[in-house]
């Protein structure tokens, strides 16, 4: 399906002033947005009568280590009435926190918990930000690029790597 109709809708003033750029890559339109505008843009995309992005497929955390800004959250949206697909990307520094989109889509709850658990991205305004896969008290964020594949050596994991002094894992 051609992305042209969607592209025209996204080039309207109300959306353009909230996002940084719009481009198409491998058949999917992508919006980049700053974390300040993220929540407002999501609300707009969901409630705009010509777009109606009512279905949030996925939220994905990405670690671009050693690039800066280091982290990225990627949102994949779908509009069930119009069959559009759209990706939103938001770059973040190590200590930056994006807003939670749970107020817009309830389903974001577990996706954001997963991104927090795996990358340590803190979503501001999340109703229940706990680890989801790893247990409470787990040290470090396993999907970060500087976290070793075999984990760190401890009592339960003799095959892990030794923790070096000053390693930024926790």
């Amino acid at each position: 399906m051609s992305n042209q109709p969607l592209l025209e809708l996204l080039q309207r003033e109300s959306i353009q002033q909230r996002c940084e750029s719009v481009y198409e890559t491998f058949g999917m339109l992508t919006l980049t947005v700053s974390k300040e505008n993220l929540l407002a843009l999501c609300r707009l995309l969901k409630h705009d009568s010509a777009l109606q992005f009512n279905f949030l497929s996925d939220i994905c955390g990405v670690d671009h280590y050693p690039q800066t800004p280091r982290f990225e959250t990627v949102y994949h949206l779908y509009s069930i009435p119009f069959k559009y697909r759209l990706r939103i990307k938001c770059r973040l520094e190590l200590d930056e926190s994006p807003p939670s989109v749970v107020p817009v889509w309830q389903t974001a709850n577990w996706h954001e918990r997963e991104a927090y658990d795996m990358y340590g991205i803190v979503f501001v305004g999340h109703p229940d930000l706990r680890r989801i896969y790893m247990w409470e008290g787990y040290d470090g964020y396993p999907m970060r690029k500087d976290y070793p594949l075999r984990g760190y050596a401890d009592h339960y994991n003799p095959f892990g790597e030794a923790r070096s002094q000053g390693a930024e894992g926790a």
Partner: protein, 404 residues
Amino acid sequence: MTDINLLGTNEAGQKLTKELLLNLGPQHPSTHGVLRVMLELDGEEIRGVDTVIGYLHRGTEKLAENFTYTQIIPLTDRLDYLCAPSNNLAYVLAVERLLEIKAPERAQYIRVMMAEMARISGHLLISGALPLDLGAMTTLLYVMREREMIMDLMEMITGARMHTSFCRVGGVREDLPDGFEPRCREFCHVMKQRVDDYERLITENRIFLKRTRDIGKISGEQAIDWGLSGPCLRASGVSWDMRRDNPYEIYDRLSFEVIVRENGDCYDRWKCRMDEMRESVKLIEQCLDQMPQGPVAVAMPDIAFPLNKITVKSSMEAMIHHFEVSAYGFPVPKGEAYVSIEAPKGELGFYIISDGSPKPLRMKVRAPSFVNLQALAVLARGCYLADVIAIIGSLDPVIAEVDK
């Protein structure tokens, strides 16, 4: 004898009660795996649900970042292990999007046919397991019989029963074996009658109806908000099926009906799967009818392994090349792609970011069971304790996929 009146009585003489926290699982046969649910109970009524997952977390996504693109295919088998061909298909489609190639037509038909067989296999298991959870054991024994036929067909094609790993980037591993078509048609013929048998056994069973009708209801709007997809969403009256709405592979050439039901309760989610099995049988038959002859993998030696290894075994250069492709993989152009398909459980998506090397920078699995299970908290609130079992069963979570 324990004192059942521990909290005493109030001034009016009524017994005092308090809320109870009950732990269901992680070792419990009706949670379909290692799922733990903390239930806040007021008497028998559910006041709050906390779903605890992660007992089966294997770090598929972290592993994928350290594997070549071909090595990841077996990892995807182990997500929803009941429907391995669907997982393979979603993954290779994402890689093919990045490489900007398309599998030959025959390979596409084989993939779709296997994905539909996997759908029947997955739906069969849940249509036996849900009645089992509610006390009707017979159905499970019958569905296992038909599932065995699918297993045999899978074994005939791939040599494996569950972890098939048959899709390859740019095609499938090899062509269908001789004598496959008549056996597959025989299965389709048998299956059509057997679905009617299950329906006679369960669909109008009074106990089953009482346990599932109007239990765990969710409206279409709420279901979308919670991200439900697949049969769980269609049972709530939302007509969305990616095979029809965003057709991939050769689905646009096949005719089938998208099953939509209105109520959004446990019964409708179950019935939706029953009817989908009939449609899948039709799809398999259409695939067999339309399947053209031809190659089953792209003719790109940098990506696809050669089908016959005669040259590999007789020519030095071909052997070195074969070794390199299998050991080091192939580079995939820089970029990112998200491809999702209509898997038996719902929208199964793969998001791959490539940095131009033979290993992905990031692979994210949008697992339908993970998202569907999240809705347990809203579905179970206000229900009775026994209903939770029916609701978990009707959501059809595969914990291996939930935990990734």
